[in-house]
């Protein structure tokens, strides 16, 4: 006999569905369909086989000893519960997956920290409306004007410079 008999599904499917990423919904639905199918297959048959009314048969069947021998054999037979060979595999998979999840979460945390650092960077930068041109040069050296080393023509954008070439114009 089995160590564990199962009669109904104990899985909280709604909670699981919440945790499924968008891209994997079809897989999740397929899994759910399969699981439902298995459950239906279980439900198709009763948990215990119905009783045979041997007394009635004995009263009606003329062959002497036949029903008795049937009854003896029927009661003696032990239906073997199928051996579970896959649970260890699943457990191993789970262990592997746990490691993967741990690694993924650690990576994710480092990414979050990176993003938070990027957000915090703006705390160290003066609001643009309070900046002077010197502040701009201090905080964004590559964007500020640099008239000594790299003088430019007003209004200091790329189109107005002498060496500007329009992208659609062939070089001559």
């Amino acid at each position: 006999m089995a160590a564990r008999r199962i009669a109904s599904s104990a899985i909280n499917w709604t909670a699981l569905a919440e945790r499924v990423p968008e891209g994997q919904k079809p897989f999740f639905l397929a899994l759910k369909a399969k699981s439902d199918n298995y459950l239906r297959r279980v439900m198709a048959n009763p948990e215990v086989a119905p009783k045979l009314d041997f007394a009635a048969y004995k009263a009606k069947i003329a062959v002497p000893g036949l029903v008795d021998s049937f009854q003896k054999q029927y009661e003696a037979i032990k239906v073997p519960y199928p051996a579970d060979k896959l649970t260890p595999d699943v457990n191993a998979q789970e262990k592997q997956a746990e490691q993967d999840i741990k690694a993924f979460i650690a990576e994710s945390q480092t990414r979050i920290q990176k993003y938070q650092a990027e957000i915090a960077k703006w705390d160290d930068i003066l609001p643009f409306e309070d900046m002077t041109l010197e502040d701009l040069k201090d905080m964004f050296p590559e964007r500020a004007l640099d008239p000594l080393n790299n003088p430019t023509f007003w209004p200091h954008d790329a189109e107005e410079q002498l060496d500007y070439k329009r992208p659609d114009q062939p070089a001559h």
Binding site: A2, R4, R5, I6, S9, A10, I11, A15, L16, R19, V20, L31, K34, S35, Y38, R41, V42, A44, N45, P46, V48, A49, L52, Y57, K60, I61, V67, F70, Y74, I77, V79, P80, Y81, P82, D84, L86, T87, V90, N91, Q93, A97, E98, I101, F104, I105, S108, I112, Y115, Q116, E118, I119, W122, D123, D124, I125, P127, F128, E129, D130, T132
Partner: protein
């Protein structure tokens, strides 16, 4: 850009500045002039900016662009002048000083009001009219332009912060979803158990059905045998009885029947 602020300072901004200047003025009387000048922008709440560790903010506060002009009294005189007088002379001091100075200048004919002055007055009236008439529209238009400029400047920053915030949210969500995988293994184990159970139940039913089928077969067989035997017995009896009937016995039968009928008729 500052023109709009000069043309029409909004009332609320002025009142704000006024209250702040009074408060700050009472705390720092000597510095009140500077305080009024230094109170600026700040209509929007901004994240505090972290200065460098060596920055001396007490002696060298960070200069800020004045969003609205300093408040004035009587339309033209800066409020800071009155605040300056207030500590020495009280409320009426500046007015007394102004009136006295004007009287002195006029009576000593240091300031001579010749016809050019009256021309200036009419010119000034026209300027006031123009400001009152066209000021609000100009101010609104220029305010909008300034706001556009600010939005444009801040768009990149805001986008970046929003993008990173969204990324953090996504990361947290994917962490949550990754942890959901553990439930997946529960499902897998349960699926295995369900399949095993299904097979077990099918086997039970198989045994039950085959035994029942055999018993039913035996039952049917017994019933059929009985039927056949019964039929055979009936046929045999009937045929034997028929064989036993001869012509004499038939006539005797008929006579007996007629006799019975007569007896019945007599009784009726």
């Amino acid at each position: 850009m500052m023109l709009s602020r000069l043309v029409r300072p909004s009332k609320s901004a002025i009142s704000q500045l006024g209250t702040v200047s009074v408060v700050q003025g009472s705390q720092l009387p000597a510095n009140s002039l500077c305080v009024v000048r230094c109170i600026t922008s700040g209509t929007k709440a901004q994240a505090p900016f972290k200065e460098g560790p060596e920055r001396d903010l007490v002696n060298f506060p960070r200069p800020k662009q004045l969003i609205n002009p300093s408040p004035v009294r009587l339309g033209v005189f800066p409020d800071s002048w009155f605040t300056f007088f207030y500590n020495k002379t009280g409320v009426t001091g500046p007015y007394a000083f102004g009136g006295g100075l004007l009287t002195y200048l006029l009576s000593k004919e240091i300031w001579v009001l010749e016809h050019e002055f009256w021309g200036g007055v009419s010119f000034f009236i026209m300027i006031i009219y123009a400001v009152k008439k066209f000021g609000p529209q100009t101010s609104a238009y220029l305010e909008k332009e300034i706001q556009n400029d600010l939005d444009e400047m801040n768009a990149g920053k805001i986008n970046e912060i929003e993008g990173y915030t969204k990324s953090i949210e996504n990361e947290k969500k994917s962490q949550f979803q990754a942890e959901g995988q553990k439930m997946l293994f529960e499902v897998k184990r349960e699926n295995i158990a369900l399949q095993l159970e299904a097979v077990y139940r099918e086997r039970l039913m198989e045994v039950y059905r085959s035994v029942k089928n055999r018993l039913d077969y035996q039952l049917e067989k017994t019933n059929a045998e009985r039927n056949v035997q019964q039929k055979h017995m009936v046929n045999w009896i009937v045929s034997n009885v028929k064989k036993a009937i001869t012509t004499e016995s038939e006539q005797e039968n008929i006579k007996k029947c007629i006799g019975d009928l007569k007896a019945l008729a007599a009784r009726a």
